[in-house]
């Protein structure tokens, strides 16, 4: 089974067999560093903590410099970023539970404790930016866009014993986060507002460690994987690209054409032109394509062969 983005719109219950169904057995308990590069990521994150409340130069933000249209568009953009980061606040801990239950190297659990905190900081800072621009918006303006930003199903997959952890990490970290990181690097180039730029840089610094985690993990285990396992990883990555990324999870211009996605794209354009963050299709497209190509190359070196992907706005990549 590959990753799924199916999700009910109602608060409901579901009875599911999960990898948590066995009794806990934490012993023998070890905290040896079996993946020292990941332990070092934990230590680096500990050294490089920041606080959205005190480390961002909020006094340099002057909302009055911008038009009403620009402020509204930027509110929408930073609110959407907050929703996206919020998703990781529960996805990251779900993966951490899995590391513990599967008794994966303790380095992974330790790193994910601070990774989750970083995701909280990102949600906090994006929400704060939206607030200062006129007010955080608590849901997509048009319901149609919820399908693009609601979830990418990682939390459910993390608790599903039938979905291999390696596939989730390859899809979520080495693919989705890699794409997000490259977009952040691009945003650093095109964002002119000093506060928006500072936020982008803080987040990008954390995301670089998040991406490194995924590749360090895959590199450490790739030689132990069977061809079937590599095929499963490939399927998970394909699902993440086709069903999530190419559906507009990170980039609204990739979402299916409808009035909602057109409104989001327009808000992105206004935000971009104001230098308040965000980007546009013309600027982001070559970056997105280059990232996908690089991911394919890096996966190939690990014995994972990704197919070509097609999208109306990208062609075949």
């Amino acid at each position: 089974m590959a990753l799924s983005r199916e999700m009910s719109n109602e608060q409901a219950f579901e009875l599911v067999q999960t990898l948590l169904d066995g009794p806990e057995n934490r012993f023998p308990l070890t905290f040896n560093s079996d993946l020292p590069r990941i332990r070092e990521l934990f230590h680096a994150a500990t050294r490089n903590q920041w606080d959205p409340k005190t480390d961002v130069a909020w006094d340099q933000l002057d909302p009055e410099r911008y038009t009403d249209e620009q402020r509204y568009a930027a509110r929408l953009y930073w609110s959407r970023r907050a929703w996206s980061e919020y998703g990781a606040i529960s996805e990251s801990p779900a993966l951490q539970v899995r590391f513990g239950v599967e008794q994966r190297p303790s380095d992974m659990q330790l790193f994910f404790t601070i990774r989750s905190q970083e995701e909280a900081r990102h949600a906090e800072v994006c929400h704060a930016m939206a607030e200062r621009l006129g007010g955080y918006i608590d849901k997509p303006v048009q319901n149609l866009f919820q399908g693009s930003v609601a979830t990418h199903g990682v939390r459910r997959a993390a608790l599903n014993a039938e979905i291999p952890l390696e596939g989730i990490i390859a899809a979520l970290v080495c693919t989705a986060e890699e794409i997000a990181f490259d977009v952040f690097r691009h945003l650093d180039d095109v964002t002119r507002d000093p506060v928006a730029k500072q936020i982008v840089r803080f987040i990008m610094r954390d995301e670089s460690r998040h991406c490194a985690f995924g590749w360090y993990f895959l590199e450490a285990i790739c030689e132990t994987l069977t061809p079937e396992q590599k095929k499963m990883i490939e399927q998970s990555v394909v699902t993440m690209v086709e069903k999530v990324e190419l559906n507009g999870y990170h980039s609204s211009w990739l979402a299916p054409e409808n009035p909602a996605s057109r409104a989001e794209v327009e808000a992105d354009r206004v935000t971009y032109e104001a230098g308040l963050g965000s980007t546009i299709e013309e600027a982001e497209k070559p970056i997105f394509i280059a990232t996908l190509q690089r991911i394919r190359q890096q996966m190939k070196a690990l014995g994972i062969d990704l197919p070509m992907f097609s999208h109306a706005k990208l062609g075949t990549v």
Partner: protein
């Protein structure tokens, strides 16, 4: 369902299905947001902020070193609970419609602090001869293998009751025991570690009690009774089984209790049985009074291992 090793597996898990939007991210519990902010402001680094040279483990005789490594290994087994329980609690808060953003933010900081505690405890155990991977008596292991991560994700488990038992009561008890160990610690490095841990656990315990205070006005009588029942079950099934105080369970934790006595005498981060008994009894008494303010009646407890409390 029965697993290969003969243990009974639980039935399928009843998981909540998330409804994300509208996504409230404004502050609704300001005192808990303040805990989150003070946690970020109080961030520390075990490697940089602790003077590890003061540990001087080689200066203690072998019996003391062996005792200290067992004491700190056991504290490690306890603290390791947070590596699966706290993330599961965050997931539960995120899945349940209407739960506030402030606890979600706070719990991410709590989990990082638990990771730093683990690094410190592990480093101490290693310095005194090496971490011990499991209890001396296998019968003691079930006290730690509580499966809290599964319990909190189960939609049949009341989240408020879970917070009452594990975030308010249990974290509060851990805080008071840490303070007791700190009062008896003479080793400079261990005192410094415990000072950091206490500062963090003050926030952890405050979170639980503040959250209860925000929820209690809305509880029904049945919910109050459920909380009292689950608290009593926790005290009988976990505390009196020696989870925090091994001297309460000499039938399977004698090695750990003996080690703590030696560690306490050496000032290396434990306390005598009588000091821990006072701490436990006083804490439960205080907790009983606080719970009564929320309409929750905690019963009295009797055991032949300590005075009634």
């Amino acid at each position: 369902m029965q697993s290969a090793n003969g243990q009974i597996s639980p039935p399928p898990l009843s998981l909540l299905v998330e409804r994300r939007f509208p996504l409230e991210m404004n502050v609704t519990l300001p005192q808990i947001r303040e805990l989150y902010d003070s946690g970020k402001a109080g961030r520390w680094n075990p490697d940089r902020d602790i003077d590890w040279s003061g540990l001087a483990a080689d200066g203690y005789d072998d019996a003391v070193r062996q005792a200290a490594r067992r004491t700190w290994s056991r504290l490690l087994w306890i603290e390791a609970t947070g590596l699966t329980e706290t993330p599961a609690l965050i997931v539960r808060f995120c899945m349940e419609t209407g739960r506030e953003i402030d606890p979600k933010f706070f719990l991410t900081v709590r989990n990082t602090e638990e990771a730093w505690h683990i690094e410190c405890f592990d480093r101490i155990a290693q310095a005194f001869g090496g971490r011990i991977a499991r209890p001396a008596d296998r019968g003691y292991e079930s006290v730690f293998n509580r499966g809290l991560y599964r319990r909190v994700l189960d939609s049949n488990q009341s989240l408020d009751s879970y917070v009452a038992v594990h975030a308010a009561f249990e974290d509060g008890l851990e805080l008071e025991l840490c303070r007791t160990w700190r009062r008896h610690a003479t080793n400079l490095t261990i005192a410094a570690v415990l000072d950091r841990v206490i500062a963090d656990k003050e926030r952890h315990a405050a979170f639980g009690w503040l959250y209860l205070a925000s929820r209690a006005p809305h509880w029904t009588a049945a919910e109050r009774q459920l909380i009292a029942t689950e608290l009593a079950a926790h005290i009988h099934g976990t505390e009196l089984k020696g989870y925090h105080c091994p001297w309460l369970a000499p039938e399977h934790a004698a090695a750990e209790a003996d080690a703590d006595a030696v560690t306490a005498m050496a000032g290396l981060g434990a306390a005598s049985r009588s000091a821990e008994e006072d701490t436990l009894a006083d804490y439960v008494g205080n907790a009983r009074r606080r719970l009564a303010e929320f309409g929750v009646t905690l019963p009295g407890f009797e055991t032949n291992r300590m005075r009634a409390f």
